[in-house]
C-alpha cells in the first residue's frame, strides 16, 4: 500500500500512508521546526493546509496530553520523511501514527520532504493533495484544482469557538481580557492567565458590542488561518475598541487584522514563514529575537517604520530573513501586534516579554483611572 502527494502543477511525490487513509486536499506548506510536531498539528492556523515537516524524523517522543494547542489536530494533512515506530519519552502516551489515525488525519510518510521543500521554495506554496496510491492522479488533480486558493479564504470562522468561554486567571485576578478566537492556540490565553488575566474567549463572529459588553481591560486578537482580507468585520471591531483606549494585542492573523484596521495592506508570501528559527529585530530594543513563525500572509511595509496606507501605525519589528514586517504598534493608542508567535509552543520563547508588555499596557490604563 502506498500513498502520494500531488501538487497543482502536476509534481508528484510518492510515499507510504500515515495515520488515516483517504484523500485530502489543501495548501501544501513546509515547516522547518525540529521539535514540536504535536503543537504544529494542533495549531488552528494550519487549517486547510497540508504540512510537510523538513525535519526528517518525526514522532520520536510520541504524543502526550499536555502539548495540545487546541482540542484536536487542525492540519488537513501531514507529510513526513519518517514517523517513529517506537517513541520514547516519559510523557509519551501514543505514537504519532496512532494519534493521527485516531483523529482521522490523513498523512504520508517516507516522502523526500527535502525535494518537496525545495520545490515549494522555488514554485511557491500551492494547492495539493494526499491520496492513496491506487487513486488515479489525473482525477485527483481535478479535485485539487477544484479547491479554492488560500487568497480570499475566510477559514477563521471555521476553527473559531462557537460559544464564548473563560480561562480563569492563575492566582489573583488582576485584569480581564477579551480574546478574539480566530483559531487561537491554547498557549496564548494560558500565558495571559499566568499573568493574572481572566480571559474571555470570543467567537470570530463577535462584534464591537459583544466586546464592549464585557468591559475588558484589554483585547487580544489571536492567530488563525486564511486570508486576513476575508475577515473584514474584525478589523472594524478592533478599531472601535481601540478608539476607546482599550489596549489591543494581536498575534499573527491578529497582527494582519490590526494593520488592516488602520489602513494597511496585506499580501500573500510566496511560501510563507513556518518554523522556529526566524530572526526578528525589535527596533526599539535593538535586539534580535529568535521566533516561532507560522503565516502565509504578511503586512505591506514601507520605508523605515512606515506602514503604507496606515499613517497611525509604525513598524516595531522586522523579520531579518526577508525584511518583512514582523510587528507594528499604533503611534498614539496602546495597540501592539506581532506577525510571529511570542507564545512559542512550538519554538523559542525569546518573545514572551510581549505578554508582559501587554499586561503593562493594561496596568497603565488602570493606573490612568479610566
Amino acid at each position: 500500500m502506498t500513498a502520494y502527494i500531488l501538487l497543482e502543477d502536476g509534481r508528484r511525490f510518492d510515499g507510504l500512508p500515515l495515520g488515516a487513509r483517504g484523500e485530502v486536499v489543501g495548501e501544501v506548506v513546509f515547516n522547518t521546526a525540529m521539535t514540536g510536531y504535536q503543537e504544529v498539528l494542533t495549531d488552528p492556523s494550519y487549517a486547510g493546509q497540508l504540512v510537510a515537516m523538513t525535519c526528517p524524523l518525526i514522532g520520536n517522543y510520541g504524543v502526550n496530553d499536555e502539548d495540545e494547542e487546541s482540542a484536536r489536530p487542525q492540519v488537513s494533512g501531514f507529510i513526513v520523511r519518517e514517523s517513529a515506530r517506537a517513541p520514547s519519552s516519559w510523557r509519551s502516551r501514543a505514537t504519532l501514527e496512532e494519534y493521527l489515525a485516531g483523529h482521522g488525519v490523513v498523512g504520508v510518510r517516507d516522502v523526500d520532504t527535502r525535494a518537496l521543500t525545495r520545490h515549494i521554495r522555488s514554485a511557491g506554496a500551492m494547492r495539493g493533495g494526499i491520496a492513496p496510491g491506487d487513486v488515479p492522479a489525473e482525477a485527483f488533480l481535478d479535485r485539487i484544482l477544484d479547491q479554492p486558493r488560500m487568497e480570499g479564504l475566510n477559514l477563521a470562522g471555521d476553527v473559531s469557538t462557537g460559544e464564548p468561554y473563560v480561562v480563569p486567571a492563575v492566582g489573583e485576578e488582576r485584569y480581564h481580557v477579551a480574546a478574539f478566537d480566530f483559531g487561537v492556540k491554547a498557549s496564548s490565553p494560558r500565558l495571559l492567565s499566568a499573568r493574572g488575566c481572566r480571559v474571555t474567549v470570543l467567537p470570530a463572529a463577535a462584534g464591537t458590542a459583544d466586546v464592549l459588553a464585557l468591559d475588558p481591560d484589554g483585547l487580544f486578537v489571536s492567530n488563525g488561518p486564511g486570508d486576513p482580507a476575508a475577515v473584514e468585520r474584525a478589523a472594524e471591531t478592533i478599531r472601535e475598541v481601540a478608539a476607546r483606549g482599550v489596549p489591543v494585542f494581536g498575534i499573527c492573523l491578529g497582527h494582519q487584522l490590526i494593520a488592516r484596521a488602520y489602513g494597511g495592506e496585506t499580501y500573500k508570501l510566496p511560501f510563507g514563514h513556518h518554523g522556529g528559527n526566524h530572526p526578528v529585530i525589535n527596533h526599539a530594543r535593538g535586539a534580535v529575537e529568535i521566533t516561532s513563525q507560522n503565516h502565509g500572509f504578511a503586512v505591506e511595509g514601507g520605508e523605515e517604520s512606515q506602514v503604507p496606507g496606515a499613517p497611525d501605525l509604525r513598524v516595531t519589528h522586522r523579520n531579518l530573513y526577508d525584511g518583512t514586517v514582523a510587528g507594528v504598534a499604533h503611534r498614539s493608542l496602546p495597540v501592539m501586534a506581532v506577525q510571529y508567535h511570542p507564545e512559542a509552543a512550538p519554538g523559542p520563547r525569546d518573545s514572551r516579554y510581549l505578554f508582559d508588555d501587554f499586561v503593562s499596557l493594561l496596568a497603565a490604563r488602570r493606573g490612568a483611572g479610566s
Partner: protein
C-alpha cells in the same frame, strides 16, 4: 555595532601539540579565527607550538610564533609584538589557562593587552566549579549536587551525602584528565587522590553520579548586544557516565519534545548571560532524568570546543569564525550566514538530516589499558556521518570509522566484539560496562533476541535509539531472505544506509557483484546540501552528503577538477599532519585554477571547513563512497598520497574502476610496500638494507630470524604508525609475537628485519616530478634506532651525520624517486650504523614530517607536490633543493601516558598523539623549547636549587652518561644515582649520592619522585625487558610530571638544553622573520632552484 576601531593587533593562542581531549579541532577553530580577523584588517599574531597545524602556515597570520605555549613564552611574544588584545577562546583549555595566568600575574595589564571574547571573570566563573555552582544557584538551575574538596577528609564528608556512584572531577583540567567514577569508598579515595594531583588548583568536585541519565549539549553563541542563539543541540547515544568525547553523539537532539528542548534552551541562554561570556561561543552540557525529565546543568566551557567544531560541521554554522568577529564588536545580525549569504548569522540552523559522530580509539596501541569508558576521555579521533535518517547516518558513521567493518557489522569472533559468550547473561554483563565494542555487542544481543527493555536497562541507552538499531537488523533479515531482490529492494536497502559490502555479505556475494548490479539498475546515491536552513533558502556553499533520495543537488561543473581524499578519523600515526597536507594541496590547486573537491569524514579538520575547497563531500573514505563521487564529478584525477594510509588503501580499487590516480602510480606504491619487490628496487639502485626476510607462517618466521640473526624487527606489511611493530630478542618472544601480528593484518605477510642496535636514524622528505628530484629536508632522529620515527625527537639540520653520509642519502633518495617514478612526495628512512647508511623504509607519499619541514624551511612541500601531481614540473615551479633552515628546528613527540596506565618506554610501535616544534639559533635552545612545548618541563633555575637529577643506567650506557652527569653537576645540579651507576661515576670522580631502587630500601626512587625531590630522571632499561621497578619509576615520573629520559642521545640533548636555558636569554622569533618572507611558493633568490639533490 560595527567592529572595534581601537584595536589594531590581536594575539591568538593555539592549543599546542595534539593530545587526547585537545586535538585538531582547535586548528580548525584557530584557523577560522585568524582568517576572520585578518579579513577585518587586524594584524594577527599567533602563538602555537604545533607545526602540523594549518594555522601556523606562514601565509595565514601576520606573525606566527612557533614557540612554547606557556605563560612565560607567551609573555616574551607579547613584549615583542605589543598586541592590543588577546583572544583566548580559540586554543582550548591550554589557551584559556595561559590567558588566566597572564591575567592573574598582571602581565596583561602591564602590557595593555585586553582579553576579548571572554573576560577573566567569566572564565573563572565557568571553570571554577564552586563559582559555577553558585552562579547556577543564582539563576535557579540545578547542578549534580555534591561539593568541592581540597583534601581527602572533605571528600569523605561530601560522598556521605551524594552516595555512590560518585563522580570525581578535578578542577581546571582537560578532557576530564584525572577524573573517574567511584562505586565504593576505596575507589573513591583513590580517585580523589588522583584528582587532587591532576588539578591545577588542587581541588576536586564530587558529583552525584547521574549515571544513565540522558546527556545533551547545546552550542550557544552570544554577541556584545546580548543577542543569544543556540547553534546546535547534541544528544549523546551513550548516557551520562561516558565522557562526551568518548560517546557516540547525535545532532540534532532526537528525543526531546519542544517543551523540554525550549526549557533547556532557556536555561542555556540564562547561563551564558549569568556567566557573562561577552562575545563568542560556549558549550553547555545537561543531564536529564529519563524517568521524569529533571534537568541538571553538568558543565559549561566558555570557549570553542570539540563539540563546537562538531556543531559547526553538523550545521554549516562556523562558530569559531563568527565568534572571532563577535569578539571584535560585531553583532550577530551584522554578520552574514556564510552558507546562504543572503540571510544574517543571527538565526538558529534548521537541520533536515541527522548527524552521528563516532569516537575512534587506540586501545590496540595500549594493550594493557582498561578499555572501559568513563568520565576521562580516551578517544584519539572521531568521524562524523550525515544521513537523512538516524539509521543511514549510523551505518555511514561506522563505515567512516575505518575499523575494518563496512557498517554495523559484528566481528568474526565473539572476542572481536569483546565477548566471551553469546548467552543473554554474558551479553548483558558485557553491555553494562561501556566499551568501544558496545555498539557491536548491542547487535549481537539483538540477534540473540534480547528484548530492548533489557538492553535499555543494561546500558541506559534511550529505547528510541535501540529501536532504530533493531529496525536495521529487521531490514537486514528481510533482505537476506528475499528470494530474488530487485532494483526497488536494493534501493530500499541503500536508502537505509547499507553499504555494498554489507549487502554482499548478507547474501553471500562479493562487493563487486553488488556494485555492478546496482550500477546496471541505476541505483545511485543523490547528494543533498548542508544549507543551515532545511531548504528554506538556496545555499551558495557546496557542502554535500550522500543519500538515496529523489533529487541530486550536486551538479558537476565543466571546470578542470581534482578530487583530494582526506585522512578520515584521527588515530595514532595518522593525524593532523595529513590534513595539513590535504589542505595545502587544495589551496595550491585552487591557486592553479582547478576546481578542488575534498572528501573527508573527520569533523575536527580544516579540510572539512566549508570554504576551504570548492566542493566538500562529507563522506566516509571507502571505495564505494569515493567511487560514487568520482563517477558523478568525473575529475581529471584523484590525489591519494596526501591523506596517509586511508586514501592509499583505496588507490588500487580506484584504479581498477578506471579512476585516474594522480602522481606516483599505484604499482610504484606497491613496489615500495611489498617487501620482495622493494628488495629488487634496492638491489637495482644499490641501496643497503638490513638483512631481512618475509614470513607467512610462524615456522618461516623462525627460519628467517635465525638466518638474519637476533634481535629482529618484526611487523606486518601495509601498516601505519608501526602498528604491531616490535623488536624481538629471541625465539620465544618471536613465537609469542607472531600469533598476534598475523591478526593485525591478515592479508599481508610479516616482515622480519635484522634490528640495527645502536644505530641512529634519519628521515628524508623529497619531492619528484619523475624527472627531477629535490630534497625538502634531512632530519636526524635524536632517539636511537628502534624508536618509531613518529615517536622520536628529530632535528633539522642534522648534527650527527657526516657530509659523506648526507650525500649518500641524497643520492639514494634521488635514485629511489626516479626508479619508482615518483610524482609527488617521497619519504625515505635511513639508519646509520658503524658509518654505513642503511635504507629502512621508502614511502612514496606524504609523511608525518612534511609540515615540520615546511615550517622549518618555509618551503611548502605538500603544496608543491599537489602542483606536480597536477602536471607542473619542479623546474617550472622553481622549487629549491634542501632549502636552508635559519637556526635549528627540533620536533618532539607527545604521548598520552598520563591517561593510559601503560609502560612509557618507547619502541617501534608509534604511540604518540602529537608533536611540538622548537626552533632557535642553537640546538640546545631549540631542544629546550621543544621539550617545554611537549610538556616535558625541564628543571629551570628555581628547581636547580631544590631538585635533583636521578641517574640509573645500564652498563652499556655508563661510559656515555658520565660526561653528561659531569656537565649536569657543572650546571649546579646535585645527582642521585643507584648503586651500580653511583659506583661507576664515583670511580671516575663524579660526585653523587646513593638512591635506592624499589625493593632496596626506602625512601627509594619512587618515593623521591612522589615527594617532589626529583627534577629529572635518567633511566635506560636494563636489558631487553623493563624490570618492574623501572616501570614503577617511569609511571611515577609521569604522574608527578618529572621529565624522564630513557636514551643516552636524549639525555645528551637534554643536557644541551639545560645548558642553553642556563646560559642564554630566551628569545622568540616569528617564522615569517626566520624564513625571511611572507608568501608561500616564493623561494628566496639566494637559494638554488630546481635541479637534482
Amino acid at each position: 555595532m560595527p567592529k572595534r576601531g581601537d584595536l589594531e593587533s590581536i594575539l591568538i593562542l593555539g592549543s599546542g601539540p595534539i593530545v587526547i581531549g585537545q586535538a585538531c579541532e582547535f586548528d580548525y577553530s584557530g584557523t577560522q579565527a585568524v582568517r576572520a580577523l585578518k579579513e577585518e584588517g587586524y594584524r594577527v599574531v599567533l602563538v602555537n607550538s604545533n607545526p602540523a597545524t594549518i594555522m601556523t602556515d606562514p601565509d595565514l597570520a601576520h606573525r606566527t610564533y612557533i614557540e612554547p605555549l606557556t605563560p612565560e613564552w607567551v609573555t616574551h611574544v607579547i613584549e615583542r609584538e605589543r598586541p592590543d588584545a588577546l583572544l583566548p577562546t580559540m586554543g582550548g583549555q591550554t589557551a584559556l589557562n595561559i590567558a588566566m595566568d597572564l591575567d592573574a600575574d598582571g602581565s596583561l595589564t602591564k602590557h595593555g593587552v585586553e582579553l576579548i571574547g571572554a573576560n577573566a571573570r567569566s572564565i573563572r566563573m565557568a571553570e571554577d566549579r564552586e563559582e559555577f555552582a553558585a552562579a547556577m544557584d543564582r539563576i535557579g538551575l540545578a547542578v549534580p549536587h555534591g561539593g568541592f574538596a581540597r583534601n581527602i577528609e572533605d571528600a569523605r564528608r561530601i560522598v556521605a551525602d551524594t552516595g555512590y556512584p560518585a563522580i570525581v572531577r578535578p578542577s581546571f583540567t582537560l578532557g576530564g584528565t584525572g577524573g573517574g567514577t567511584a562505586y565504593n569508598l576505596a575507589e573513591f579515595e583513590t580517585q580523589v587522590r588522583k584528582g587532587l594531583a591532576a588539578s591545577r588548583i588542587g581541588e576536586v568536585l564530587i558529583d552525584r553520579g547521574v549515571l544513565g541519565w540522558k546527556e545533551y549539549e547545546l552550542e550557544v553563541v552570544r554577541d556584545g548586544a546580548d543577542n543569544v542563539i543556540v547553534v546546535c543541540s547534541i544528544e549523546n547515544f551513550d548516557p551520562m557516565g561516558v565522557h562526551t568525547g568518548d560517546s557516540v553523539t547525535v545532532a540534532p537532539a532526537q528525543t526531546l519534545s519542544d517543551a523540554e528542548y525550549q526549557t533547556m534552551r532557556d536555561a542555556a541562554i540564562a547561563i551564558i548571560r549569568e556567566i557573562g561570556v561577552e562575545a563568542g561561543g560556549c558549550n553547555i552540557q545537561f543531564a536529564v532524568d529519563p524517568a521524569n525529565g529533571e534537568m541538571l546543568v553538568v558543565e559549561m566551557n566558555p570557549r570553542v570546543s570539540r563539540s563546537s567544531a562538531l556543531a559547526s560541521k553538523a550545521t554549516g554554522f562556523p562558530i569559531a569564525r563568527v565568534g572571532a568577529k563577535l569578539a571584535v564588536g560585531y553583532r550577530l545580525d551584522e554578520l552574514p550566514n556564510d552558507i546562504t549569504r543572503t540571510t544574517p548569522a543571527s538565526f538558529e540552523p534548521a537541520l533536515d538530516y541527522v548527524v552521528v559522530k563516532f569516537p575512534r580509539f587506540a586501545f590496540e596501541k595500549f594493550p594493557s589499558e582498561d578499555d572501559t569508558l568513563g568520565v576521562q576521555m580516551k578517544a584519539v579521533g572521531e568521524t562524523m556521518a550525515i544521513g537523512r535518517t538516524f539509521r543511514s547516518a549510523w551505518q555511514k558513521g561506522l563505515r567512516g570509522l575505518e575499523v575494518g567493518r563496512p557498517g554495523w557489522v559484528t566481528g568474526e569472533s565473539l572476542q572481536d566484539d569483546g565477548l566471551e559468550s553469546d548467552s543473554t547473561e554474558a551479553l548483558l554483563r558485557a553491555l553494562r560496562r561501556p566499551t568501544t565494542a558496545r555498539k557491536y555487542q548491542l547487535k549481537r544481543a539483538m540477534e540473540a533476541g534480547v528484548p530492548i527493555e533489557l538492553l535499555h536497562r543494561a546500558t541506559g541507552i534511550d529505547p528510541w535509539f535501540l529501536d532504530q538499531l533493531s529496525q536495521i537488523l529487521e531490514t537486514e533479515r528481510w533482505y537476506g531472505e528475499l528470494p530474488d531482490p530487485g532494483p526497488e529492494d536494493l534501493r530500499r536497502m541503500k536508502r537505509e544506509g547499507f553499504s555494498d559490502a554489507q549487502l554482499a555479505a548478507l547474501r553471500g556475494e562479493d562487493e563487486r557483484a553488488v556494485r555492478e548490479r546496482r550500477w546496471a539498475w541505476g541505483v545511485r546515491p543523490t547528494y543533498n546540501v548542508v544549507d543551515t536552513c532545511a531548504g528554506e533558502f538556496p545555499a551558495e556553499t557546496p557542502y554535500y552528503y550522500s543519500s538515496y533520495e529523489s533529487e541530486d543537488e550536486s551538479r558537476s561543473s565543466d571546470r578542470r577538477k581534482i578530487v583530494i581524499l582526506g585522512s578520515g578519523p584521527n588515530r595514532i600515526g595518522q593525524g593532523i599532519e595529513f590534513d595539513y597536507c590535504c589542505v595545502q594541496a587544495v589551496l595550491a590547486l585552487r591557486e592553479a585554477g582547478f576546481e578542488t573537491i575534498m572528501v573527508n569524514s573527520n569533523p575536527e579538520t580544516v579540510s572539512t571547513d566549508f570554504d576551504v575547497s570548492d566542493k566538500l563531500y562529507f563522506e566516509p573514505l571507502t571505495l564505494e563512497d569515493v567511487a560514487e563521487i568520482v563517477k558523478l564529478e568525473k575529475p581529471e584525477g584523484v590525489i591519494v598520497q596526501l591523506g596517509g594510509q586511508t586514501p592509499l588503501n583505496l588507490a588500487q580499487g580506484l584504479e581498477e574502476l578506471g579512476v585516474p590516480v594522480l602522481g606516483t602510480s599505484v604499482d610504484a606504491i606497491d613496489r615500495a610496500e611489498d617487501r620482495r619487490r622493494f628488495e629488487r628496487v634496492c638491489r637495482r639502485i644499490g641501496a643497503r638494507v638490513p638483512d631481512n626476510g618475509t614470513a607467512r607462517s610462524e615456522a618461516e618466521a623462525l627460519e628467517v630470524a635465525r638466518s638474519v640473526g637476533f634481535p629482529v624487527l618484526v611487523r606486518p606489511s601495509y601498516v601505519l604508525g608501526g602498528r604491531a611493530m616490535e623488536i624481538v630478542y629471541d625465539e620465544e618472544s618471536l613465537k609469542d609475537y607472531f600469533a598476534r601480528a598475523v591478526r593485525a593484518s591478515p592479508d599481508h605477510p610479516v616482515l622480519i628485519d635484522r634490528f640495527l642496535e645502536d644505530a641512529f636514524e634519519a628521515d628524508v622528505d623529497a619531492l619528484s616530478d619523475g624527472t627531477d628530484v629535490v630534497v625538502g629536508g634531512i632530519m636526524q632522529h635524536i632517539e636511537d634506532a628502534g624508536v618509531h620515527s613518529g615517536d622520536s625527537a628529530c632535528v633539522l639540520p642534522p648534527y650527527l651525520l657526516s657530509p659523506a653520509q648526507l650525500d649518500e642519502m641524497r643520492g639514494l633518495t634521488r635514485r629511489f624517486a626516479l626508479e619508482l617514478n615518483v610524482v609527488g612526495l617521497l619519504n625515505v628512512q635511513y639508519a646509520v650504523k658503524d658509518g654505513q647508511v642503511y635504507v629502512l623504509e621508502v614511502n612514496p607519499r606524504a609523511s608525518r614530517t612534511v609540515p615540520f619541514v615546511g615550517k622549518a624551511t618555509g618551503v611548502p612541500l605538500a603544496r608543491l607536490a599537489a602542483r606536480v601531481m597536477a602536471g607542473e614540473t619542479l623546474a617550472e615551479l622553481g622549487v629549491p633543493s634542501e632549502p636552508p633552515v635559519n637556526g635549528v628546528a627540533v620536533k618532539e613527540a607527545v604521548f598520552p601516558f598520563n591517561r593510559f596506565d601503560v609502560d612509557t618506554l618507547l619502541g617501534p610501535e608509534m604511540r604518540s598523539t602529537g608533536e611540538a616544534m622548537g626552533v632557535d639559533d642553537s640546538f640546545g635552545m631549540a631542544f629546550a623549547k621543544a621539550q617545554v612545548s611537549a610538556g616535558n618541563s625541564l628543571p629551570g633555575a628555581r628547581e636547580r636549587a631544590t631538585k635533583r637529577v636521578i641517574v640509573t643506567v645500564n652498563d652499556a650506557d655508563k661510559p656515555t652518561v658520565t660526561p653528561l652527569v659531569r656537565r649536569l653537576a657543572d650546571l649546579g645540579f646535585s645527582v642521585w644515582a643507584t648503586r651500580g651507576t653511583r659506583e661507576y661515576l664515583r670511580e671516575l670522580g663524579v660526585a653523587c649520592e646513593r638512591v635506592y631502587k624499589v625493593g632496596e630500601g626506602r625512601p627509594n626512587i619512587v618515593d623521591r619522585i612522589v615527594s617532589g625531590e626529583a627534577g629529572l630522571l635518567v633511566n635506560t632499561p636494563l636489558g631487553k625487558k623493563s624490570q618492574y621497578d623501572d616501570y614503577a619509576m617511569r609511571r611515577a615520573a609521569i604522574a608527578f610530571r618529572v621529565p624522564y629520559l630513557t636514551t643516552m642521545s636524549a639525555t645528551s640533548a637534554a643536557v644541551d638544553a639545560l645548558t642553553a636555558i642556563r646560559t642564554r636569554r630566551p628569545e622568540v622569533l616569528s617564522i615569517q622573520e626566520r624564513i625571511g618572507r611572507g608568501g608561500a611558493g616564493e623561494p628566496s633568490s639566494d637559494v638554488p632552484s630546481g635541479g637534482p639533490a
